[in-house]
């Protein structure tokens, strides 16, 4: 059959460097590299290359390079190559376009339009190497006030609080969408870092049963793997209403990814499609959500905080307020650039709003209503580095969820084809020959290193601002200034412009 569109990428093999060791041949699950008939000479083809960079990273002589496939179309700002390719692909298949990871379109990234403050003269900066610098974070509903006996014994009953040693949690990624080895790495890293990982909607694999105390266990519309022990074997419970990458859309784990292990964790038959409906079919309203929140609290005897995760959509500030009043202890807001294992391309690229704006308006709304301390706010989708984390907290987040950054730390190169199940890095796949490539021990170390490095940077930035506790940064928007933003953007973010 004739193809109407060119490959995305072009593999460049430097003949002067290739030693024909065949490493690339054996590592490419997309079969872009192959041996000639002599069984010795390595050749390659571009069609199925997704630029995952696996071959480039492993090539011992640096003989490989991936380029964009360049065949210039007549220039048009309207009918770009990408637009035409998508049309051709749909004309060939008749199907919805699928892609993965977050929205790649060049919408404004507000993190990059906010600058942080530092102390000069009137207020000394603090050296984190000399002075304690506190980033400990507690998640959970806070009582409006405390009361004590005369000898300072606490009279108020404290709702359950989750103590974290960093304001960074690993966000929801299900076993099924990612490999068991990835889950092992995330859970072990969470344990070492004093933070949490998130089961996504895939349940908890029996091998990770002992890691439950470091797990946020998700209850999503498919209810996969949800049972009483699962809920009780957790740090807290997260009801997933929506996901930033695909607001309003459910999930679909294809049957071929449902092997024995996945089927056990999800409690579904091997080989069956795991379909998460778009809505929870027992939540058609806020009062229904309230019922689910309270039934989860009942089944865990009130010992587990309940989080509700929503996608950042146009009226999310009002939704967040409603969810807080419905009894959620923690609310996670997931921005439209958040990642996913698979999403319809059109949804991924066009639905939802940036997390920066959603977070700023939700935090302000909760404060306007005087109920900010009732809930903890988690920002997700995405924070790319420690500066993003600091800015998110200054806007009002209690902590942030990271997922894409965590995956990149363990090998992901954002090729955006998780949905194919052929992840050459052993992350977003269930194929045994591929999952083996992710050594959980190495991956754990890399995750621990990443978050440790960010912790150091957060402390450095806090010290520069003359702050020695993250508590004093939370919602401290005077520490932010906008750069290159309109009056409206500044007012939604609740910050002033640089120089003001």
């Amino acid at each position: 059959m004739m193809r109407y569109f060119q490959p995305e990428f072009h593999i460049v093999r430097d003949p002067a460097r290739c030693i024909h060791c065949g490493c690339c041949v054996r590592q490419c699950a997309n079969e872009c590299h192959y041996f000639d008939e002599d069984g010795k000479t390595v050749l390659c083809r571009d069609e199925s290359c997704v630029s995952c960079q696996r071959c480039v990273c492993l090539c011992p002589t640096g003989a490989l390079r991936i380029e964009k496939f360049k065949s210039d179309y007549r220039e048009s700002a309207v009918w770009t190559q990408q637009v035409q390719k998508e049309i051709c692909r749909q004309a060939s298949t008749g199907g919805t376009l699928l892609s993965a990871m977050g929205n790649p379109k060049p919408y404004p990234i507000y993190w990059d339009h906010m600058l942080l403050n530092a102390s000069q003269v009137t207020n000394p900066s603090i050296d984190p190497l000399r002075e304690p610098m506190e980033i400990r974070t507690f998640l959970g509903r806070k009582p409006d006030r405390l009361s004590f006996t005369k000898d300072k014994k606490l009279l108020t009953e404290m709702p359950p609080q989750i103590k974290l040693e960093t304001p960074i949690l690993f966000s929801a990624m299900s076993f099924g969408s990612i490999s068991l080895n990835a889950h092992r790495a995330l859970s072990a890293a969470a344990k070492e870092l004093g933070t949490l990982f998130n089961t996504g909607e895939g349940g908890l694999h029996p091998d990770l049963h002992d890691m439950g105390q470091y797990a946020v266990v998700q209850v999503a519309s498919g209810r996969f793997g949800v049972h009483k022990d699962y809920l009780n074997n957790s740090a807290f419970i997260e009801i997933k209403i929506g996901q930033g990458a695909k607001p309003g859309i459910g999930g679909h784990l294809p049957g071929e990814k449902v092997n024995v292990e996945v089927s056990n964790a999800r409690m579904i038959p091997v080989g069956s499609d795991a379909i998460s409906p778009a809505p929870h079919h027992d939540i058609y309203s806020i009062e229904d959500l309230r019922q689910l929140i309270w039934s989860l609290k009942e089944v865990t005897e009130g010992k587990k905080p309940v989080c509700v995760k929503i996608a950042a959509v146009h009226n999310c500030a009002a939704i967040v307020s409603g969810v807080a009043r419905a009894g959620a202890d923690i609310i996670a807001i997931d921005g439209f650039r958040g990642g996913t294992g698979a999403a319809p391309t059109r949804i991924r690229d066009n639905v939802g709003i940036p997390i920066e704006l959603a977070l700023a308006s939700a935090d302000q709304r909760l404060r306007d209503e005087g109920i900010r301390s009732r809930v903890s706010l988690l920002a997700a989708g995405p924070t790319r580095n420690a500066a993003d984390v600091v800015k998110a907290i200054a806007l009002g987040a209690d902590a942030v969820y990271i997922a894409s950054a965590a995956l990149i730390a363990i090998g992901c190169h954002m090729c955006q084809t998780c949905n194919t199940g052929r992840c050459n890095w052993g992350i977003a796949t269930q194929r045994e020959d591929l999952t083996r490539r992710l050594n959980p021990e190495i991956a754990k170390e890399r995750l621990v290193n990443l978050v440790t490095a960010w912790n150091h940077e957060i402390k450095e930035m806090l010290g520069g601002m003359g702050i020695n506790s993250l508590d004093s940064l939370r919602g401290n928007r005077l520490m932010l200034r906008g750069i290159g933003l309109t009056e409206k953007e500044l007012s939604v973010l609740g910050i002033r412009h640089a120089g003001e």
Partner: protein, 147 residues
């Protein structure tokens, strides 16, 4: 003594251990020059299997090595201190008796017998150092250094 342990559940079948073994035993210690200029070079480690299941195999440096016992010239020796079994190319006449008796098939044929020497002098053998997935680890395994 310290030995190289291969973990098959982590082996990627990338066979980079072979590339780096050859490089480490080349004159130039550079992979390109090793492959271009020294075609006779042999890897002393071999990955067996395919992507579905693979494992790297190399000399086990046995407590009582059959190869040493069988060597007719005294070229094959187990170092009494380190326990490493090596073949002295000066003495080896290439009769390949060692190859015939090795229970693991870890001796290669060249002009002389070629085998793993645990990259003597290095802190870690090249195969271990360069394995991208820590499928090869260098561990103290006990056993006799003295043959």
């Amino acid at each position: 003594m310290k030995k190289v342990i291969a973990k098959e559940n982590l082996c990627l079948n990338c066979r980079l251990c072979e590339v780096y073994c050859k490089t480490a035993h080349s004159k130039s210690k550079d992979p390109l020059r090793a492959y271009l200029n020294e075609p006779e070079l042999q890897s002393r480690i071999t990955v067996c299997g395919d992507n579905q299941k693979s494992v790297a195999v190399q000399c086990r440096h046995c407590d009582n090595p059959k190869c040493v016992e069988a060597c007719i010239t005294g070229a094959m020796q187990k170092d009494p201190v380190t326990g490493v079994v090596t073949c002295d190319a000066e003495k080896c006449i290439g009769c390949m008796t060692c190859l015939a008796v090795c229970p693991f098939g870890c001796i290669k044929i060249g002009e002389t017998a070629v085998k793993c020497d645990l990259c003597q002098g290095e802190e870690e053998p090249a195969c271990v150092k360069n394995c991208p997935n820590r499928a090869l680890v260098y561990l103290e395994m006990g056993g006799k250094a003295d043959a």
